[in-house]
Amino acid sequence: MNNSNTTALEATIKKNKIDRQLIGLVIFVAAIMVIMSILSPSFLTASNLTNVLRQSVFIMLLGFGMTFVLTTGGIDLSVGVVMALSGGMTGWLLSFNVNIVPALIAGFAMGTLVGAGNGLMVTKLRITPFIATLATMSIGRGVMYVWTNSIPFRNYMVGGFRFLGQGNVLGLQFPIIVAIIAFIVLQFVFRKTRFGRHVTAFGSNNESAKISGINTDRLQIKVYALSGFMAALSGIILASRLETVHPEMGKGYELDAIAAAIIGGTSLTGGKGSLIGTALGAFIIYLISNAINLLNVDPDWETIVKGILILVVVGVEFLSHSANKRKL
């Protein structure tokens, strides 16, 4: 009991720190907005900002699952390939005129099961998360090449499926609505449910979590399955958005998802996570790209500028963090 009380206390302190970091992120976004609205007239328009939001949805959804994984102290490198596998499964079934409902269920099952498989490797085989999910990533990508014969799946767009990636509800693109709903649900799970608190407790201190009676194996399997599910959601929407599933779909997305979570204040070493931060992190990554594109910066410089800006965001966070420590 004592232990879990302390971890809960630690978690609250950490949560306060995260809140301060969030303020830093919001200030950063505001600064970009102000500067860009002066430099480019087309930046601060509803259509541009919803575009950026829509572009960042896929990383955001992956990042939400990734936040849970990182909070346990793990990592999931397989989310990019899970996107391809799940989107591929749904698209492949649809191309045989399978009804959309079973096709979607199969896509989600694919992602969730691969995620659970990661969790099983991590817990039952005691493989470190980095290696286990790296192996899954490699196997999954190979399966995609073999399964598609290197030729993208296409010709699977049916009316209902098109809506997932390209539909509009109340003037908002449907992927954005999915991200908002996912955020609300996961924020509730993360902050208000026993499962969410266990995730943070386990990440803060594995042993004390175990001693206080949490079934840690089961917890981790659930967390990786959740990450797989979120990757499936992202992949299926992307499949609808792109109208084709390329065997290399989602390549590199795992690193962007991790970056989004880290920018948002989630710790790579576990015990600390913020879904709002992740959402902002994903938005910032695409906002930077968008700003650079609108200013028509030479593409050779784009990645340099992007990298420096990410360093600035994380660096400012760290400085505010250490300033707070000194005050304490």
């Binding site: 480019s40 087309s42 930046f43 328009t45 259509s47 541009n48 575009n51 572009q55 896929f58 492949w92 191309s95 045989f96 099952a109 694919m110 099961l113 691969v114 659970a116 498989g117 099983l120 039952k124 490699s138 990508r141 190979g142 399966v143 090449y145 073999v146 399964w147 598609t148 014969n149 290197s150 030729i151 993208p152 799946f153 296409r154 010709n155 390209q166 079934n215 089961r218 399997i221 992307l238 958005r241 792109l242 109208e243 084709t244 390329h246 065997p247 290399e248 779909m249 390549k251 695409y286 790209s289 968008n290 594109n293 609108l294 028509n296 030479d298 593409p299 050779d300 784009e302």
Partner: protein, 411 residues
């Protein structure tokens, strides 16, 4: 309870994986009908099938010459072999019958584009096997990453050690950096042929290869797109440019495109961003550039995936696609079946068929003529390329689909 649940979960995962493996046997899900039809034609074998093959090659080549205007770069008379002449076939057959050529084929990635080239190679090997009784052993290895040049070097070394007669290479690695492994292979008695490489960027005599079978990336891809822009826009308009990853193909296509645009003072490239050769990045780049320049007339994507991303960006933003008289023209490059479909549907305006099928066919024909019959080869052989839009899409579409339907039957 929990243990049984876990066991069940493991079981399901295993079953799923096996199922996925089983699917791989199903092959290409996209056009099963086409492949069976065409396979039947190929199975018929013999002269009739070979004749049609050669004919379709000719028509594509001719169309290419008509359209490009400056067709001097296309030096290969592709597909035009004198199948059916009994005396000639008997003469060749008496020299090569029963012999075997061991060929390794290593593209920089496993993709639809290289798959089409490989099937083009299959088609020529099948024909040579049918007519002259020569056998081929053919191995294919692609690195898992496009830029994993060192893994391609290892592949070439392994094949040289295994005494392959010929290695066909296309690599993202620089010519200079690959030259030493080519030399190593030559020393081991393995001849190096390149395909789909912009040899125009280097001094071809300094490369340790027999021949490079390719197309001119600048003049036969980038420049065709530029000329198309000038023609359709009457020399007046704003252009967005979506580039691929930095590398020799990107550099060569860009050079050809920009040089052509520069000839028309009314045309200007108002923005350029990178799309990394994938659809989602191309779409994002197009969306962002269109935001700042909604009044553009023309978008050039250095491959079809990015160009199709641009098409989707235009649609999503409520702008108008080219309908023959007005709207935004979108042009890609490569010549994939999915790109041709988009052209037929009126989504993508045009693309460049860079002669992938003919690169595969011509490479095998060159290898056969040099290695088995002793003919000399030029250092660089460029196959015909053609700008494809709704008016002529039927020809290259049928040609690529025919190639993709070919199954290896050459030993």
């Amino acid at each position: 309870m929990k243990k049984t649940q876990l066991k069940l979960a493991v079981l399901v995962v295993v079953v799923l994986m096996v199922a996925v493996m089983a699917l791989t046997g199903c092959g290409n899900a996209d056009n099963p009908v086409d492949s069976t039809d065409n396979a039947a034609t190929t199975d018929a074998g013999g002269d009739a099938a070979a004749d049609t093959n050669a004919d379709s090659g000719d028509s594509a080549a001719n169309a290419g010459a008509d359209n490009s205007g400056s067709s001097t770069t296309a030096s290969a008379g592709s597909g035009s072999w004198m199948w059916g002449d009994a005396a000639w076939e008997a003469a060749v057959r008496s020299k090569v019958e029963g012999q075997t050529l061991k060929i390794g084929f290593t593209p920089p990635a496993a993709s639809e584009f290289y798959d089409i080239i490989m099937h083009g190679a299959y088609s020529m090997m099948n024909e040579l096997h049918d007519h002259f009784g020569v056998n081929f052993e053919f191995e294919f290895v692609a690195p898992s990453e496009h830029d994993a040049v060192e893994s391609q070097i290892a592949t070439i070394e392994n094949w040289a050690t295994k005494e392959f007669d010929v290695v066909l290479v296309c690599t993202a690695g620089d010519f200079d950096s690959m030259n030493s492994v080519y030399q190593k292979a030559n020393d081991a008695g393995t001849a190096i042929y390149l395909f789909n490489m912009p040899a125009e960027l280097w001094d071809e005599n300094s490369i340790n290869m027999v021949s490079c079978i390719s197309y001119n990336n600048g003049l036969q891809a980038g420049a065709l797109a530029g000329e198309y822009a000038a023609e359709k826009l009457n020399g007046e308009g704003k252009i967005l440019f979506i580039s691929g990853n930095d590398g020799h193909w990107t550099a060569a296509r860009k050079q050809g495109f920009e040089d052509t645009i520069a000839k028309y003072p009314g045309l200007s490239i108002v923005a350029e961003q990178r799309g990394e050769y994938v659809r989602d990045k191309g779409m994002a780049a197009a969306e962002n550039m269109l935001q700042a320049n909604p009044d553009v007339n023309f978008i050039y994507g250095e491959n079809e995936e990015m160009a199709q991303g641009a098409v989707q960006a235009i649609e999503a933003m409520g702008l108008k696609l080219w309908d023959g008289t007005e709207g935004i023209i979108v042009v890609g490059a490569d010549g994939l079946v999915s790109g041709y479909e988009q052209i037929s549907n009126g989504m993508l305006t045009a693309t460049v068929d860079v002669g992938h099928v003919d690169m595969g066919r011509e490479a095998i024909r060159s290898i056969f003529m040099h290695e088995m019959l002793g003919y000399t080869l030029d250092k660089v052989t460029n196959v015909p390329a053609i700008l494809v839009d709704a008016d002529n899409v039927a020809i290259p579409d049928a040609y690529a689909k025919w190639a993709l339907s070919i199954e290896p039957a050459f030993n």
